[in-house]
């Protein structure tokens, strides 16, 4: 468990970091919390020649609300998300998800930006971001661009981030009144990747009609998956048991899990359906209480 030798860079500004990424090209990797990159380096699955540590760059870990949008800096730690009063107000889902990510030591280091930029469908935040309708700010030499979460994940470890760019911020629209959200994953033991994980956000009007639904699935598809048919089964209709079960059924049909030590394809589809059902109900409960 010893990484190959590499050059370590610790730029003090974003511009400097981007310049280093452009200078070293393919050979460089960005280090934020390090909980994906460093294990891969120690196992020698990844051997970057240059590691660009962005932790020394100021201003990348704020969590704030501006003009109906919640901005989360890419370096915000899992522990920051877990304990943020602002996030707790709109998004109790962050408490759900962070508590299921590894252990406190990891959460003190791991970042939201790193969790997304790694591009791994087994990570938990991608599904949450899908449910919440997030967008991602990517910064390069030519400035910032905003990418909707549905256009961010391309493939296994592949995202919209291009060479010379850094993921710098996550933006979440402040949800309308009557919104609730929830996440749960089935894991074999604490800290495990999800056998299946489900994130749901629902907005329910005063007439009981669902006006918006976001459902994201963890680790049951090669890329993080939006359960579109499940969302459609709910929106514009009252939240009946029948509709919930239909949404659950669609999710278990539309995901594409692969069999591994966590379970067979059948089991993962089955669990996905069960969790979609449970998370819809939990999100609805929170929506009613809001």
């Amino acid at each position: 468990m010893i990484a190959q030798s590499f050059q370590y860079e610790s730029p003090g500004t974003l511009a400097e970091a981007i310049a280093l990424l452009n200078q070293y090209g393919d050979e460089a990797k960005v280090l934020s919390g390090g909980h994906s990159l460093i294990p891969m380096m120690k196992l020698r699955f990844a051997s970057p020649g240059y590691v660009i540590d962005i932790n020394g760059i100021p201003g990348l870990s704020d969590i704030k609300e501006e003009n109906g949008v919640v901005h989360i800096g890419a370096l915000a730690r899992e522990a920051d998300l877990e304990h943020s009063a602002l996030l707790a107000k709109y998004f109790p889902i962050f408490k759900d998800v962070t508590k299921l990510i590894a252990d406190p030591q990891v959460r003190n280091m791991g970042t939201l930006g790193g969790n997304l930029a790694h591009g791994d469908a087994a990570n938990d935040h991608p599904a949450v971001m899908i449910a919440l309708g997030a967008s991602v700010i990517i910064t390069g030499a030519d400035g910032e661009r905003e990418v909707p979460i549905d256009e961010f994940f391309y493939g296994f470890y592949m995202t919209a981030i291009q060479q010379g760019e850094i993921l710098t911020e996550i933006r979440l629209p402040v949800p309308a009144a009557g919104t609730g959200n929830a996440y749960h994953k089935l894991e074999r033991k604490v800290g495990d990747y999800a056998t299946s994980g489900v994130a749901v956000q629902l907005t329910i009007g005063s007439d009981g009609i669902v006006t918006a639904a976001g459902i994201g699935l963890t680790n049951v598809n090669p890329v993080p998956l939006r359960a579109t048919r499940s969302e459609e089964a709910l929106v514009g209709k009252p939240l009946t048991e029948e509709n919930i079960l239909l949404a659950a059924q669609y999710a278990s049909e539309d995901c594409n899990p692969s069999a591994d030590l966590r379970g067979s394809e059948d089991y993962k589809r089955h669990v996905t359906g069960v969790l979609v059902k449970r998370m819809i109900k939990k999100a609805a409960e929170r929506a009613m209480a809001s």
Binding site: S5, L186, S264, V274
Partner: protein, 790 residues
């Protein structure tokens, strides 16, 4: 309640003394092998095989030698020049140190890289290029005896198949007849999975050979330093390393659990390299190496059968075992017991007929197996008997608690001779189970279960009432490589009445520095805090076979008590001299002798010891020291009654252990707090194989879960809130009536959990599931029963 004979200030048996060793451990000041740093020390890393079975065509070391800092690459051909490429296992099989032509399992050692830093050694390891010619491996033990299977150990002259040995116990004819005629016969095929001890500290060593003195100091993670020194001398005596030129030091150890009993190739290579270059060589495994290559535990495929009457009387048992030993039998059993103490599998029940048989086979997997927190295959035995007992209770329609009460050996029938010949020393099984049932209101739980079942909810209650067999062992039967399994204690009391005691055992977390001091405090009245305990250095400690199999208290603990009693006898003589009375006029209370009827005329143990150095009677040997080598007259037989309550999520199949009550009987208790800690740890290592852990190989012999990401060691989060208690049935033959406890919970917990889960699933016609029982495994079983769609 535990009655203490000594004051808290003396801190003898029964006091919950805080552990002396913890002051350094909780401050991070322990001294482990990896903390040993010597001038000029080199570092070793090991190239390992990616294949389970392959010919080595070529090992190219050129690139590795170019890595800055790399000083040597050692291969099997290099060791062959010194006849060090093979070594014996503890079971008198043979194991490669480094291969010369064939690798036999994935992650087997292939070459060693020696460098000036551990980083250079790892870079060098990555640069060694090995050309292999892969062959089709034998992975499934049931196929290893097929005539078409390749003969894996063709290195052994005349070997024509993969069979290692056959072992039998009991009476075959009588048992077969019983099973033909019995009213009720039940049978289940069960696998006790291959698991790993996964101690927090991996294995490692610093081999420090001095050419000037022709002397080797070996710092290593070993549970048995003396035995290791003898083995080194036997293996390397021909190159000059005879026993007086070898010193083995086992510093602090971060968990052993049996995995640090064997000699691993890395140790031998480090010694060989240090011997050749004359510099210290450090080798420390990383986690994956430890998990993938070091000895496994268990891996028994058992067909268990029970015969009895319709009203629930057990009449007999039959066990047929297939043991998968990997490519060599590297078990850590006493020599005469290839299946360890498996013959305890007749259990806690009063019947006279059994037959058991085991065939051991070679496969292309890592060698073993070690006794993982279990006295030599007792975990396998207890799982088999406790599962099949539940199966039998289900068959005859009896509550498993009632059926056990009906069949238990009665308290008054001890000592009791088992059908395989063991003499159970003592026990009170009825009291233990009753106490466990009372602790959780068993009848009420059964009522709740019936209600839940009616509503389609899944709740299960599982019982395990096990008999352990520990404290190996009496010299007439027990030896390892010929060395009898006694153990030793040496007590030296200083003139001011403080003491040091040394032992042939070696703590890996058991708390010997505290409990041994308490035993001596109990016998001599010297406060436990004034007694230093030392273990692990062969230059200073008396010879002993080490710590494993819950043997330390039964053997070395007994030695401590007897050595202390020798000193008390001497103290009586000195006291009589000092008080000018006859020895018969003296009475002992912990800490002093006083004159009968005149308690003011007394001499404290401290005054007596001081006199032993300053004013001892004419004709008496000066000083105050004693040594004892304790050869136990019998083994000890701890027991326990465990009850587990589970709830299973009907949709996700997740298992929640709601309650777990563990009532242990380990005889007299030395330190209740340490016993409770041992039980908590052991129970957690019991849920591990029951619900989480198994080493899994694919058909090519690739390990599928060779890291902690997929080898699921349970944590505090997975552990239920353990509810512990005890009954006390002292061992009649042990000097302090103690029996040993370290392994009981690991042995007893898995069947309680498995029985509870199966109990929850009986409405679906499920009578057995192999451990580890995971949510996915339950889903599959229910899918097979049509509960879930395919």
């Amino acid at each position: 309640m535990i009655q203490c004979k000594t004051s808290k200030a003396i801190g003898g048996m029964g006091h919950s003394l805080k552990r002396k060793e913890d002051a350094r451990f909780i401050q991070g000041k322990g001294n482990y092998v990896d903390d040993v740093k010597l001038p000029g020390m080199l570092y070793m890393d090991i190239v390992r095989s990616p294949y389970a079975y392959a010919k080595i065509k070529k090992i190219n070391i050129e690139e590795a030698m170019k890595v800055p800092g790399v000083v040597a690459v050692v291969t099997g051909r290099d060791l062959e020049k010194y006849n060090l490429h093979w070594m014996p296992t503890l079971m008198s099989d043979t194991q490669m140190v480094l291969p010369t032509d064939t690798v036999m399992y994935q992650s087997q050692e292939v070459a060693a890289v020696i460098a000036t830093t551990k980083y250079a050694a790892r870079d060098g390891r990555e640069a060694v290029i090995v050309e292999y010619e892969p062959m089709k491996p034998v992975i499934d033990p049931f196929k290893s005896l097929d005539p078409s299977a390749p003969v894996l150990r063709s290195d052994k002259e005349g070997k024509t198949d993969n069979h290692i040995w056959n072992w039998k116990a009991g009476d075959k004819e009588k048992t077969d007849t019983l099973f033909e005629t019995a009213d009720v016969v039940v049978k289940e095929q069960m696998h006790i999975p291959r698991i790993h001890v996964a101690s927090i500290e991996t294995c490692g060593c610093v081999a420090d050979y001095s050419k000037v003195n022709n002397h080797l100091t070996m710092y290593m993670t070993t549970q048995a330093p003396h035995a290791i020194r003898t083995v080194i001398a036997l293996v390397a005596g021909h190159v000059g390393l005879t026993e007086e030129k070898v010193r083995v030091i086992a510093p602090d150890i971060g968990g052993g659990f049996g995995g640090k009993v064997p000699v691993y190739p890395g140790y031998v290579i480090a010694i060989a390299v240090s011997f050749l270059v004359g510099k210290p060589v450090k080798w420390i495994e990383d986690r994956s190496e430890n998990l993938q290559a070091d000895s496994f535990a268990r891996d028994y495929h058992i067909t268990a059968e029970m015969a009895g009457t319709k009203d629930g009387k057990i009449l007999g048992t039959r066990f047929k075992i297939l043991a998968d030993h990997g490519y060599t039998d590297a078990s850590a059993n006493p020599s005469k017991f290839p299946t360890g103490m498996f013959s305890i599998a007749t259990g806690s029940y009063d019947y006279g007929t059994t037959y058991m048989e085991c065939d051991a086979v070679y496969t292309n997997k890592p060698p073993g197996g070690v006794a993982y927190r279990c006295s030599f295959r007792v975990t396998e035995a207890v799982h088999a008997i406790e599962r099949i007992t539940d199966r039998f209770a289900f068959e005859v329609g009896k509550d498993p608690a009632d059926l056990r009460m009906q069949n238990f050996i009665k308290k008054e029938d001890f000592p009791w001779k088992s059908p395989t010949g063991w003499i159970y020393d003592s026990g009170d099984y009825h009291a233990g189970l009753q106490k466990a049932m009372d602790a959780l209101n068993y009848d009420e739980l059964r009522r709740e279960q019936a209600e839940k079942r009616a509503k389609g909810e899944l709740m299960g209650i599982g019982i395990s009432t096990f008999t352990e067999i520990v404290g190996a062992g009496p010299s007439k039967d027990f030896d390892i490589l010929g060395i009898k399994m006694f153990d030793s204690a040496e007590i030296r009391v200083h003139p001011t009445g403080k003491a040091i005691a040394r032992f042939g055992t070696k703590s890996q977390g058991q708390g010997h520095e505290t409990t041994y001091a308490q035993i001596i405090a109990e016998e001599l009245g010297i406060p436990a805090e004034n007694i230093a305990i030392e273990e692990g250095d062969t230059d200073t400690a008396p010879y002993g076979l080490g710590t494993y199999a819950s043997r330390s208290t039964p053997t070395a603990g007994a030695a401590a008590a007897i050595a202390a009693r020798k000193l008390r006898d001497k103290a009586r003589k000195i006291a009589a001299y000092l008080l000018e009375v006859s020895e018969d006029d003296l009475e002992w209370e912990p800490g002093k002798f006083f004159v009968k009827g005149a308690p003011e005329k007394a001499k404290t143990i401290q005054e007596i010891v001081f006199a032993a150095y300053t004013n001892h009677p004419q004709g008496m040997e000066a000083g105050f020291e004693a040594t004892h080598y304790y050869d136990p007259p019998n083994l000890t037989f701890p027991s326990g009654a465990y009850i587990c309550v589970v709830d299973i999520d009907r949709e996700t199949c997740e298992i929640k252990v709601r309650r777990f009550v563990a009532i242990d009987d380990c005889g007299n208790i030395i330190n209740p707090m340490i016993v409770q800690g041992q039980v908590h740890g052991g129970l957690t290592q019991g849920i591990a194989p029951a619900m989480y852990e198994e080493l899994i190989y694919d058909e090519s012999g690739n390990i599928l879960n060779g890291t902690f990401m997929d080898y699921l060691v349970p944590t505090a989060v997975e552990s239920p809130s353990w509810e512990t208690g005890h009954t006390v049935t002292p061992s009649p033959h042990h000097p302090i009536g103690a029996k040993g406890v370290g392994e009981s919970p690991t042995v007893g917990a898995p069947p309680a959990i498995a029985n509870a889960i199966v109990d929850a699933l009986t409405p679906f016609g499920i009578t057995h599931l192999d451990i580890p029982i995971t949510p996915f495994k339950i889903f599959k079983a229910l899918q097979e029963k049509g509960v879930f769609a395919s």
